[in-house]
């Protein structure tokens, strides 16, 4: 089967933004359409690599489909924890055919932060990387072993950048909002402290280290400096920390209870600058659907997390609209870079790559409404926000979903 898309703006993280035809042959992108190929006119639309969402907490096929996400890196914080080859292999098959799940295995057994989990066996079972989970590993000796062993196995370590001792039971960043609301809060430097330690360990062991979310000015400075020294470190962020600051927690809005917590306005500005200057490599949804039983509670008793899959693309396009980045860089952050971190060959429009594509109307206006989400839950901190950009069609491996 052969399809040629015509008239679209092609957005390729490696090849740039161009106009012209894009051919698909069977399940891969082809250099040119074959004779008798079906031609689909996409004038005025974007065609781009489908989104690879690095680090989701729930398997939510409907939400991913609505958001143009065809592959996810699934965090090990599941019940049961992804620390065993049987569990990893089972998780890898749970979303097919619509959604490909790339399990991220636990770095330590049960995510307890003590004993190394079986990395090589889990990788053989389908794990694409390993992660410390929602929390950091407190014991520096253990973290060093995790990094050294993972490097040996050729696996990227995905870390949570938050010093657990400093963060304690905090549900907010220390500052005026937390003080006024009377919420347990931790200083923002809890993040930079964790990054400083783990970057030094990565440098020492030669491991490849990715911080799932970096959200503070001090954190970005450390990442920038480490990259300059040639440390194999990358970092990601979700749209929440680019669009919202801690005042969103006012009135105890539990949908704004996130991990790491929302930061103050100057950190938010630093995050936007770090997107613009390339310090941030990955834009992810942090998708963590939570029902009312986890969110309709007093703020400090509620669970952190947001349903982010359906708003990832429009909020990403907002960064382009605001002039922070170009479309090609946006899709590097949404597709190419996370694919690379997971060891996948997608995220590009280059011939020979899998035909994982999305067709996007970048201007289509709509309003975020959590209760209208296709996914499992509507816990979005962006409820009511007017946005632009919608996925019109999604292709996975040459077939339309």
């Amino acid at each position: 089967m052969s399809i040629v898309f015509t008239g679209a703006t092609r957005v390729c993280p490696t090849g740039g933004v161009t106009t012209g035809d894009l051919a698909v042959f069977d399940d891969t992108i082809a250099a040119a359409g074959s004779d008798g190929a079906e031609r689909i006119d996409l004038s005025g639309k974007l065609i781009a690599p489908a989104i690879v969402d690095l680090g989701v907490f729930g398997i939510d096929v409907a939400a991913c489909k609505a958001g143009g996400i065809v592959r996810v890196g699934l965090m090990p914080d599941q019940a049961p924890v992804l620390d065993d080859p049987g569990i990893v292999a089972r998780a890898a098959h749970m979303g097919k055919p619509d959604l490909w799940i790339h399990p991220i295995a636990a770095a330590t057994r049960g995510l307890a932060g003590q004993d190394l989990a079986e990395m090589a066996i889990n990788a053989e079972a389908g794990a694409a990387a390993i992660a410390t989970g929602r929390r950091w590993i407190a014991d520096t000796g253990v973290m060093r072993k995790v990094l050294a062993y993972a490097r040996d196995c050729g696996l990227t370590v995905i870390a949570h950048a938050e010093d657990g001792g400093l963060a304690g039971d905090a549900v907010a960043t220390a500052g005026e909002t937390a003080t006024r609301l009377g919420l347990p809060a931790a200083p923002a430097i809890a993040e930079a402290l964790a990054i400083a330690r783990d970057v030094m360990l990565a440098e020492d062991t030669g491991a490849r280290l990715h911080f799932r979310q970096v959200t503070t000015a001090a954190g970005f400075d450390l990442i920038r400096a480490a990259k300059r020294r040639g440390v194999r470190v990358t970092c990601g962020i979700t749209p929440a920390h680019l669009y919202l600051s801690d005042i969103s927690m006012s009135d105890f809005r539990t949908f704004a209870h996130l991990s790491p917590p929302l930061r103050n306005e100057s950190d938010r500005q630093a995050a936007r600058a770090a997107v613009a200057d390339g310090t941030i490599d990955v834009l992810c949804s942090g998708h963590d659907p939570r029902g009312p039983e986890a969110k309709r509670l007093p703020f400090a008793d509620s669970e952190p997390g947001m349903a982010g899959a359906e708003t990832l693309l429009p909020l990403g396009l907002g960064l382009v609209r605001d002039g922070l980045i170009g479309l090609d860089r946006l899709f590097a952050m949404l597709s190419a870079n996370p694919a690379k971190l997971l060891g996948l060959d997608t995220g590009t429009l280059a011939p020979g790559a899998p035909a994982d594509l999305i067709v996007v109307d970048r201007d289509a206006p709509w309003q975020v409404r959590g209760d209208a989400f296709a996914g499992k839950a509507g816990n979005t901190p962006f409820d009511g926000l007017p946005v632009q950009g919608r996925v019109l069609r999604t292709m996975k491996g040459g077939a339309f979903l």
Binding site: A174, T179, G182, D251, R296
Partner: protein
């Protein structure tokens, strides 16, 4: 409801003077609204002293005191306040309720609502819990303390005490000393006193001082002696047991050395400065007995007395709409 913020309270008819359904905090109250509640409380002080039992304006009103956190004084104060005005008062303690069986707070709120309470008084250990319930019920909700967030009736009774003893609140220098970080009493008092144009200083060891507290319009101090200079009111906070030994301060005796209010230390304040404490006191830790028991300085028992009057006023004002009081319905 159209409402001018600039007209004196007496000139505004009925409900326009206090256009709030609930009292979840001092945050959001205008100066004249706070003063209105204090004015309303004044009448009950004398009535209580005379032991007058003639006013039964809350006859037929069902008041539920839902206390999800242990309390003796505040619960008692709200119960007496309701009963003095003829309300049917029911107390619900978390210890004997289904909360311990895993029922969510929202479910509890819906249950209380279905029982057709006319006013619900809530205390809960989580900041924001009272607001959460207030959003789910049809009747007025009164916050009797939520986590570290607010304790509005405490701030009102403190303001009333200061006003009666010193004549006015504006431009008085008030020093609040103790565990500011975990104190809902401190937050509500900061909001009420700064709204009423007092100069507020907060004093705490660095480990018990919240970040960016100066954004609330107060001056932070870690040196109690420096803060006391020229103080008109010294408000001491209770140091909770679980913070005493090593957690946030090294020891109670070290705390007493740096932050204990003694007669000697009080000399730095204005002559005739008022000493206050929300109770219960840790005698010999944050305050010495000779200061606490000296009626010349101490307004501590008066605070308890004002507490009943203020809560009577709040229960009355918040139920005026549902009771169909003229000008409020």
């Amino acid at each position: 409801m159209a409402l001018s913020d600039h007209r004196p309270a007496a000139m505004i008819d009925g409900g326009a003077v206090f256009p709030h359904r609930h009292l979840t905090g001092i945050e959001g109250l205008q100066p004249h609204e706070i003063l209105f509640l204090l004015d309303e409380a004044e009448q009950w002080i004398d009535a209580n002293r005379r032991r007058a039992q003639s006013d039964r304006r809350l006859e037929g009103v069902t008041q539920i005191n839902a206390f999800f956190e242990n309390s003796t004084r505040t619960l008692l104060s709200f119960e007496i306040a309701g009963k003095r005005l003829g309300a049917d008062v029911v107390n619900m303690h978390a210890g004997q309720s289904s909360v311990k069986k895993g029922e969510t707070l929202i479910d509890t709120a819906v249950t209380l609502n279905a029982m057709r309470a006319d006013v619900i008084v809530i205390r809960h250990s989580s900041s924001g819990a009272v607001q959460l319930i207030a959003d789910k019920v049809d009747c007025p909700v009164l916050n009797a303390g939520d986590g570290w967030h607010e304790h509005p009736t405490q701030a009102l009774l403190d303001a009333l005490t200061i006003r009666r003893r010193l004549g006015e609140i504006a431009h008085k220098r008030v020093v609040i000393c103790g565990d500011i970080l975990h104190s809902r009493v401190a937050r509500s008092n900061i909001l009420a006193l700064t709204t009423l144009a007092a100069e507020v200083r907060v004093v705490a060891p660095a480990t018990l001082m919240p970040t960016a507290i100066e954004a609330m319009g107060v001056t932070p101090f870690t040196d109690f002696d420096a803060a006391l200079t020229g103080a008109d009111v010294v408000m001491m906070l209770r140091l909770q047991n679980e913070r005493m030994n090593g957690g946030f301060i090294p020891s109670t005796r070290e705390y007493h050395l740096r932050y204990g209010l003694t007669r000697e230390r009080l000399k730095r304040a204005e002559p005739g400065a008022l000493v206050m404490h929300p109770g219960p006191m840790n005698r010999g830790i944050e305050i010495t007995s000779d200061v606490a028991d000296d009626p010349h300085f101490s307004a501590i028992t008066e605070q308890v007395e004002m507490g009943v009057a203020v809560r009577m006023a709040c229960l009355d004002v918040l139920t005026r709409r549902s009771r169909g009081v003229e000008g409020w319905a």
